[in-house]
Symmetry: C2
Subunit: 465 residues, 2 copies
């Protein structure tokens, strides 16, 4: 059912129609991106001027292309798109990405042009991503159609499906430069005149490279199909959705962005929940949850243990777990409590959450956190562990290998780290832990926010209906 | 009424009872901290061994001290505290900080000791911060009693009042190393056997060095007095409160931390609101709001304009403003709209929130954001402006002086910056803007979260009752 999408995600050859030799033009940046990702298929630049671009021979027209090109990226003015599609179809190209904006998102003339585009697609039978898309990426194929300067995009197991170009542009830059996880497939849907969220979701659901799917949508084109698809996919892998335009004002902003029409959010909310889709409401949660899922299993339950060098942090986070995050901070088993007491000075009455200050001060950060974390990781009452690492000028950054080792030893329990202390040591802690598979978060509330989201994903995966 | 507290915040001389020559001991760290802050008063280390510590003559006993010492910091085991207080009182010392833990927060023996402490304080008439405090700081006096290694603490106009040592220890390290604002007074209340939140709040309310007060409490010792004091103070300056232990589980954690007893949170919530105190629930908001207040005026109203290079961000943030933050995203005046349209390509229909992508791409980040920001800053419909700066490898970090200049030119309208793009440029943007008075936030939701808090502070300041 999703085989036709393979041409987009595993193309053996690609034509770039509107290729440019001028640096910083989209028709040049897209080629630079394809080369930077070390795409191994054939690349055919098309430009009436002919000649050579970046060492590649340029074809003067679509008609001149060899047969059996899998995918065409068309970077031409909006008006030229229908004719280009016809020419591609005539050459047997079945998969097309349309980059140009200037359609229904702009004005009445654009809406008319979009109608023509839709007719052309229907007549020719090609499949299209876009128009008005900043492209798509498929790291297992070392391929991207993004015309935004990206360089090599890190490979991973998280896929993004978005009704915005942002995940193929600035947010991908942020993920690449500020985080330490990679992506499998990234699709900017654009105006979705042909392929829409339901098609792509179905593909990602069957895609062995994709372990979790993060979705941003401003409208749902075929709600029934989308919900049916989601219901199937969410039994296999987590689907997290941020739906933009849920308020009247937000919906107005969405019209300006993608010409999306508002739907009744309460109705949608219930249907999404039933379909196992977990909603988030913060833009940042799309990549913070992605980072956690890329590295760690989903929590089996909502029972969390955490350790901090500050009693106040323990108190506030316990309140937040109960009031806001739907997480439990249960009492630990008696043998766990005894172990926590053993590693701590007598005057501290140890419990969950764990006041690790005494142990870390007396025995050192490494001993205190290692022993404290292992005690609660062993405990059957605990599903996830959040160490709030004490890193100050006094402690520096101790060896943190023990956290990586504990994550390997207890592979069913997610460990998310966060910090208390000096900024530079936090950055060093992140730079050490994340490439080794332990996600970190700058603010102490964030690991709990993310656990709350991923616990819902786990419940969706295990639901009966 | 708060004159007796001047001895704590502007001491002309200080005795450190339990001074130590051994590095990394609290009795040594406290002296290091006092020296690092370039305290200009007299310092008298006290230790029975006598000799010299850090180049200062050591007094063998409290009795040997000169007369007229303003403040004593006592760093002795819990059991030795009552006697030390008596000796200080005998020498005419009226203000004392007690560092030791081991009182009511520990066990029954500690509770009995705490009762003895209270009797001693009552009999001698001294005023006490603590015990079980990590100290207090007063940057206008270049003074701190903190025994946690701090070095020089940056001076500023925000004061922290906390029933935790964390703001004098790890969180102060974070503020110092990760943020670019300074503090005026910081008080760790400890077990508050004498001075409590009501006393300190009254002092900070009258303190010209303190422009805003951030409070963390787990219990309120004299609720009536606290609310009366807050009612008065909040008409002069913002008071933000995080109350820990508001849930049953959180309250249990609070007992372990400071032996605080739970109160009925709903009753308290209404009373605090009436008293003009603005509650927050995230630990991080205490320093994120502080950072914003340190640099910018409170917003006059809740009408925000923001600009981003991503339509999706505009949509999601508009939703959040309306649904979660109580902020309006109003339409701008016609002349503002026209100006936004002038600087943008025709195909973008400009409005608030501002899609700055076209302008910034065509005319450059500096021009696009400068002109876009000035248009909305001039607009009477707008109270605050949040630029989400587009900083990628393509743009680098353009000169950002224009934001600093706009902040000076429109001093009544807060500007909070955030970012979209490469992490290293975000860090550079922060490092440029914050020392020049423009606060920045790593996640795009945070400026709005903080505006929401500070708008409540503004309403509290202007309330009738």
């Amino acid at each position: 059912m999703t085989d036709h999408l393979k041409l987009f995600f595993e193309p053996r050859s690609v034509a770039v129609v509107g290729a440019s030799g001028t640096p910083h033009k989209p028709g040049n940046d897209v080629l630079q991106n394809i080369l930077a990702n070390e795409y191994e298929g054939d690349i055919y630049p098309v430009n009436p001027k002919g000649g050579e671009i970046l060492g590649m021979d340029v074809y003067a027209s679509i008609n001149d292309l060899p047969d059996n090109v899998d995918l065409a990226i068309i970077i031409l003015p909006a008006r030229a798109n229908p004719q280009a599609i016809r020419e591609c179809a005539a050459k047997g190209i079945k998969a097309i990405v349309l980059a140009a904006g200037g359609f229904a998102e702009v004005d009445e003339g654009g809406t008319a042009l979009e109608q023509e585009l839709i007719r052309t697609i229907r007549e020719t039978g090609v499949r299209v991503i876009g128009p008005n898309t900043s492209g798509h990426t498929s790291t297992p194929a070392r391929f991207t159609s993004s015309f935004f300067p990206q360089g090599a995009i890190p490979r991973g197991n998280i896929s993004f499906l978005a009704q915005t170009g942002n995940f193929a542009t600035h947010t991908m830059r942020y993920i690449k430069t500020g985080e330490n996880f990679g992506v499998a497939r990234v699709v900017g849907l654009g105006n979705k005149v042909d392929l829409d969220e339901s098609d792509i979701l179905a593909y990602l659901g069957d895609d062995p490279e994709t372990h979790a799917i993060c979705v941003y949508l401003e409208s749902i084109k075929r709600p029934g199909l989308f919900l049916d698809t989601a219901r199937r996919v969410t039994k296999k892998k987590p689907v997290i959705l941020l739906k933009g335009g849920t308020t009247q004002e937000g919906a107005q902003a969405a019209v300006a962005h993608t010409a999306a029409m508002a739907s009744d959010d309460r109705v949608l909310d219930g249907a999404l929940k039933q379909a196992g889709v977990v909603r988030v409401f913060d833009y940042s949660h799309l990549f913070l949850a992605a980072k956690a899922m890329a590295a760690m299993p989903l929590p089996r339950g909502n029972r969390v243990s955490f350790m901090a060098p500050s009693g106040a942090m323990l108190v506030v986070l316990t309140d937040l777990c109960q009031q806001r995050f739907g997480l439990e901070v249960p009492q630990v088993e008696e043998r766990t409590r005894q172990r926590l007491q053993e590693i701590s000075p007598d005057f501290l009455r140890m419990r969950n959450p764990v006041d690790i200050w005494g142990s870390a001060t007396i025995h050192g950060v490494e001993f205190g956190y290692r022993e404290g974390m292992e005690a609660v990781l062993k405990d059957d009452n605990i599903d996830a562990v959040v160490p709030i690492l004490m890193l100050t000028e006094k402690t520096g950054v101790p060896p943190l290998d023990f956290i990586v080792e504990l994550a390997r030893k207890y592979p069913e329990k997610p460990i998310y780290a966060t910090f208390s202390g000096d900024r530079k040591y936090m950055d060093e802690g992140k730079a050490f832990l994340e490439p080794r598979g332990v996600p970190t978060f700058p603010l102490i509330e964030e690991p709990f926010e993310v656990l709350s989201i991923l616990y819902k994903c786990r419940r969706a995966l295990e639901r009966e209906a």
